[in-house]
Amino acid sequence: MTAKDEYQNVSLLEVLDRVLNKGVIIAGDLTISVADIDLLYLGLNVIVTSVETMEREKAKKRSHIS
């Protein structure tokens, strides 16, 4: 388990799964704080779905080529 180079190959979905879905949320008194991140998050979920579709299409193309 030393393959840090694996990180370079991680899919966008794997990154999104972490940076949008995990990690600490610090509440603040700002416009862009927890509640607003939640609003953004709804939009981001839609994007995740389209990324998912995009990656499936890419995988299909790759399997056709090989």
């Binding site: 966008l12 972490r18 949008l20 990690g23 600490v24 991140i37 994007i47 990324v51």
Partner: protein, 256 residues
């Protein structure tokens, strides 16, 4: 640049050398909230990262990909310097005063999180199964199914049909429980070493009855032991149609 906002990546225990920060990008800086809490920040443009602008920007998948990969890359690089408590993307403040207030409210728990993840990396261990092979193995080891299969074999077509329906209702839960049991058994030894593992559920990941993902917080000193432990069980798992992959390391997103 118009009005500058503060983008926060996460918290570290001690200031990161300026040389490292400059390699990570322009405008990154240490912001010490206390002697144990340093927030790694970047000044960003309100035209891009302001609330309305950001809601527009995130619709651009290429832009979003660049930003989230950069967020992850910065955190991963910081991990080489010491423990990191990663913030979710996007964590943005209008001023350092607001950031200070927000951090002050949770500084004790942030310090505790830093202590908890010190010297550890998060890895994902994903188990997947060949559905047919797993079903065959699970069915052969389940007394109720073995009995049912024997009864189906010696029954006439009508009764066999009804028993077959009963079998179909039963098999899904038998396979799911069997798969989960095998994974828990394999992970019991690392857990006994003090490694923390939890189910990993992703927003974008396909959920599947033949896929189980675990997020594991593993001390660096034990990483090789965990890999060796899994390797030692690879052949046994393979006979049941189960394979595994290890992905990472990640900043400890699942453990803060």
């Amino acid at each position: 640049m118009s009005h500058a906002l503060i983008y926060a990546y996460g918290v570290v225990g001690t200031p990161v050398p300026e040389q490292t920060l400059s390699l990570l990008g322009e405008s990154l800086f240490n912001y010490s909230c206390s002697d144990r809490i340093v927030v790694i920040c970047r000044r960003v443009d309100a035209d891009t990262f302001g609330e309305e602008a950001l809601e527009r920007q995130v619709q651009d998948t290429d832009w979003l990909e660049g930003q989230v990969r950069h967020h992850m890359w910065v955190l991963n690089t910081l991990l080489d310097q010491g423990p990191v408590v990663p913030f979710r993307f996007p964590t943005i403040y209008y001023s350092l005063v607001s950031l200070t207030d927000a951090i002050a409210a949770v500084s004790t728990s942030l310090a505790a999180s830093l202590d908890r993840v010190r010297g550890c990396r998060e890895w994902e261990i994903a188990f997947s199964a060949d559905p047919l092979q797993l079903e065959a193995t699970a069915a052969s080891m389940n007394t109720e199914l073995v009995t049912l299969d024997a009864e189906i074999a010696r029954s006439g077509s009508g009764r066999a049909y009804l028993l077959g329906k009963k079998r179909a209702d039963l098999i899904a839960s038998v396979v799911r429980d069997f798969f989960s049991e095998q994974v828990e058994r394999i992970m019991a030894e690392p857990a006994a070493l003090g490694i923390t593992c939890k189910p990993f559920s992703g927003i974008g990941s396909q959920q599947s009855p033949v896929s189980i993902k675990k997020a594991c917080l593993i001390p660096e000193a034990l990483q090789q032991s965990v890999a060796s432990h899994l390797e030692a069980h690879q052949a046994k798992l393979g006979k049941m149609g189960i394979t595994y992959t290890i992905r990472g390391p990640w900043p400890p997103f699942s453990f803060v």
